[in-house]
């Protein structure tokens, strides 16, 4: 129920905001089109009706799963956005995978060997990762790996290789983030009483870190992981544009430039729904990992 209200608030806000921007016909109509044809176009798209009528129609459409037809390609907007979802999901899954597989071990190493040379090295990587802008890193990777070495394709989709550079671009910042997250919370939990107890019992170092300390350290990490996953799904705009991936974020950006309202609203609806779903999954995962949440009320 809460999720439904959230989604409704979000789409209503966006509906209001985009209608303030201006009349889509100004961008859609070719400049050569005369006034009568413009008026006819506006009428055909239903944009000549009062705003509350348009809003009513829009809400009614949501209930029926029909958000209208794209002003530009003349195909239903919701299926159009959904058709672009797989590219984005593949990209984000690969990126987050790379980030976890690189970030978590780096974070653990950093925490265990805190304040040694290993730690400063991994912290150096973190600072680098969080300070390079995405577009810059993306272009850098293209220059390096496709123009100079000629190894990986610079743009488009078609094979697994096409996803490597964009996924690395997206992953870099998250590697840094995950490393720092894990390091901080693991150092903290290594100082907790139950860890000392475990050590006193004579448990092996591997068991102490792996079973006891890491488990609690993972809780804040899961929150961030969930947020990052959602953020990437809806935030890979720059990466999708630089690498010319036909994902849903690039579609949404173009729709925004073109004031293609049905596509923008479909996108927002999907993103809002995905965020709600991810939040729910994160909550469930808490329970699995942390016994205090599982048994609490």
């Amino acid at each position: 129920m809460q999720a439904v209200i959230t989604v409704w608030v979000v789409v209503t806000l966006v509906f209001g905001l985009i209608h303030i921007t201006g009349n889509p016909v100004s961008v859609l109509a070719p400049p050569q089109m005369n006034q009568q044809d413009r008026a006819r176009l506006e009428h055909n798209l239903g944009l000549d009706k009062p705003l509350y009528v348009q809003y009513g129609k829009f809400l009614e459409g949501i209930v029926h799963g029909n958000l209208g037809v794209s002003y530009y390609s003349d195909v239903p907007a919701l299926p159009l956005v959904v058709s672009r979802l797989p590219v984005t999901v593949k990209l984000v899954a690969l990126a987050i995978g790379i980030a976890v597989f690189a970030g978590v071990p780096l974070g653990i190493t950093s925490a265990i060997y805190a304040d040694t040379i290993l730690d400063s090295m991994s912290r150096f990587v973190s600072v680098l990762g969080s300070s390079i802008p995405t577009f810059f890193l993306g272009i850098l990777l293209i220059f390096g790996f496709s123009v100079e070495i000629g190894l990986l394709p610079s743009s488009g989709v078609g094979s697994f290789e096409h996803y490597i550079l964009p996924a690395c671009t997206l992953a870099f910042f998250r590697i840094a983030l995950f490393t720092r997250m894990i390091r901080t919370s693991l150092i903290e939990s290594l100082g907790e009483d139950y860890v000392r107890t475990a050590r006193a019992k004579g448990a092996s170092e591997l068991r102490v870190v792996g079973k006891h300390a890491l488990r609690t350290a993972l809780i804040p990490f899961i929150t961030v992981f969930g947020l990052q996953f959602g953020q990437l799904l809806a935030g890979a705009v720059i990466t999708e544009t630089i690498f010319a991936l036909p994902g849903m974020n690039r579609l949404a950006l173009q729709a925004l430039y073109r004031l293609d309202f049905p596509v923008i609203l479909s996108y927002v609806l999907i993103v809002a729904a995905m965020f709600s779903a991810i939040n729910f999954l994160v909550d469930v995962t808490y329970g699995v990992i942390d016994p205090r949440v599982r048994h609490g009320h």
Binding site: N34, Y72, S154, S159
Partner: protein, 521 residues
């Protein structure tokens, strides 16, 4: 597991395949087609639903147009081989024999007639600007039709360069939306697959009436980012890349892998000034009366703009400096007109005479994502006007905000561009006194209005003798842009593309990119 083995392949190729990938020759197979990269993609393959150059380029591999314009702007035969005006309200078209659609059916005279009428009547058609005056057609013989009009259109053959020939019976049978998913035309390439806004895969069609294209397998792709598009060209992933930026020219040339082709464009970039509101023009300080109502001020603004410098500094000289509103490849261009003067001293004197010895303040609105280097140009224009005491506040905004506000009349001074196919439609849309009912002046947002010039142009619009008509057009533009300063033409936006060294391609003034006109070196 699959991903794992593929990853191993990538790692292995790092050591083994590098030279192959980097220096592969231009391919022509379904796996390795000729790739042409555009900044955006076509949003639809329905050839009358979208009047925009990328859509045109993509569609015109599958569909033929009735006529085509050559690189000098002259109309040449395509599906129509010859044409003649019978009366002011009718044109006769003689059609090519032996043309077939890609599904094997013969193209008939009725197909051509219906296509023209469809473009004129279909509620979703964006081609009405070209054939809106068409009333109907009549088949005179198996390869001849007569097209009738509600108003005379001496530019009908030119306008037909935008009208595709469609299999109207098939469209009627299976419906437009199904047809759009698998379009069939009479053009050199057959549709294979596509994704809107992203790519279109094409295969040469053996039944094509014209010269078979050199490249049999072609893929058109959208690569929005300029740096990525150039990188794809340099790495051999694409063979032709449109809209290469002047900043990348040197890199392309020094790479030895590609060259740059520039064609004089037909899009006139101009500066416009409010010509109707006495006070309350939104780009002026509150209460300020509108200085642009004075012709002296308009002339002063024109004199203050150093168009040559603008082209050299911002575009590395790759644009063509405008000497009049009409570009050289279009009828109505007057060869005898001299370049537009630049004279700061005279500009200042004119401002003083007009009652603004210390200048005034004004906001200059411009889009920042529509034209090549648009926000830079706006900044430069602001700087130039600063030299004669006009304090300009430059407001560069996204086109999705710019154009709706432009339509609402919220600008006093703005920078934009205009491209068209002929001097009459340009005049009627941009210069003619506004008249919503008559369909005149729809983009004349500054309300320039001179009935005398309108009369000259209305006369031209009904003149079928091209020499006489050209004279009238030249006369009208001479008054509108050189005497009245209705708009200040700055430069024509040239058409630029980067091409791999073993492929031949020359940019076209009409901005189309056609793989069937490409060849091997």
């Amino acid at each position: 597991m699959k991903i794992h083995s593929r990853f191993l392949f990538v790692v292995a190729s790092m050591t083994l395949l590098v030279p192959v990938l980097a220096y592969g020759a231009v391919g022509d197979s379904p796996q390795n087609p000729l790739v042409v990269a555009f900044q955006g993609g076509a949003v639809t393959l329905d050839p009358i639903m979208r009047s925009e150059n990328t859509a045109y380029s993509w569609q015109r591999h599958i569909f033929d147009t009735v006529t085509i314009r050559n690189r000098h702007g002259k109309v040449e035969p395509r599906i129509a081989v010859s044409w003649k005006d019978l009366t002011p309200l009718s044109w006769k078209l003689v059609l090519r024999k032996g043309v077939e659609f890609q599904n094997g059916t013969k193209m008939t005279a009725a197909d051509v007639g219906k296509s023209i009428v469809d473009a004129a009547d279909n509620p979703k058609s964006q081609m009405r600007a070209y054939v809106g005056n068409v009333k109907g057609y009549k088949v005179l013989g198996p390869h001849t039709i007569k097209v009738t009009f509600t108003h005379p259109d001496p530019f009908f053959p030119t306008h037909l360069a935008n009208i595709p020939v469609m299999p109207e019976q098939l469209i009627k049978k299976e419906g437009r939306s199904k047809f759009d998913q698998h379009p069939i035309g009479t053009g050199p390439y057959k549709f294979v697959s596509w994704q809107a806004d992203d790519h279109l895969v094409l295969k040469a069609w053996s039944g094509y009436w014209g010269k078979p294209p050199v490249f049999k397998n072609v893929k058109l792709v959208a690569i929005p980012n300029n740096a990525t598009r150039v990188s794809a060209l340099l790495s051999g992933q694409v063979q032709v890349a449109e809209k290469v930026l002047p900043q990348d020219f040197a890199r392309l040339k020094s790479s030895g892998k590609a060259y740059v082709t520039v064609a004089s464009g037909e899009r006139t970039m101009y500066l416009a000034m409010d010509d109707w509101r006495k006070t309350g023009s939104p780009g002026l300080p509150a209460g300020q009366k509108n200085p642009f109502l004075s012709k002296k001020v308009r002339e002063a603004v024109s004199l203050a703009l150093n168009r040559k410098l603008l082209n050299e500094k911002i575009f590395k000289g790759s644009m063509t400096v405008a000497d009049q509103f009409m570009p050289a490849s279009m009828e109505g261009y007057a060869k005898d007109r001299k370049s537009i003067p630049y004279n700061i001293k005279k500009a200042k004197a004119l401002l003083a005479q007009a009652g603004y010895p210390h200048g005034f303040k004004v906001r200059l609105d411009a889009p920042n994502d529509r034209y090549l280097y648009d926000s830079l140009v706006a900044e430069a224009l602001g700087g130039m006007l600063g030299k004669i005491g006009i304090t300009v506040n430059v407001n560069a905004i996204p086109k999705s905000v710019f154009f709706p506000n432009l339509d609402k009349g919220k600008f006093t001074m703005y920078y934009a561009g205009w491209g068209s196919t002929d001097p009459i439609s340009t005049y009627d849309a941009l210069f003619h006194c506004r008249n919503n009912k008559g369909g005149f002046g729809q983009v004349n947002r500054e309300h320039y209005c001179d009935h005398k010039v309108d009369d000259i142009m209305n006369k031209a619009a009904a003149t079928f003798d091209s020499a006489k008509r050209t004279k009238l057009e030249q006369e009208a533009y001479r008054i509108a842009d050189a005497k009245d300063y209705a708009y200040l033409p700055l430069y024509y936006q040239n058409v630029i593309a980067g091409v791999a060294k073993d492929v031949t391609w020359k940019s076209r003034p009409d901005e189309l990119i056609l793989a069937w006109q490409m060849g091997r070196k």
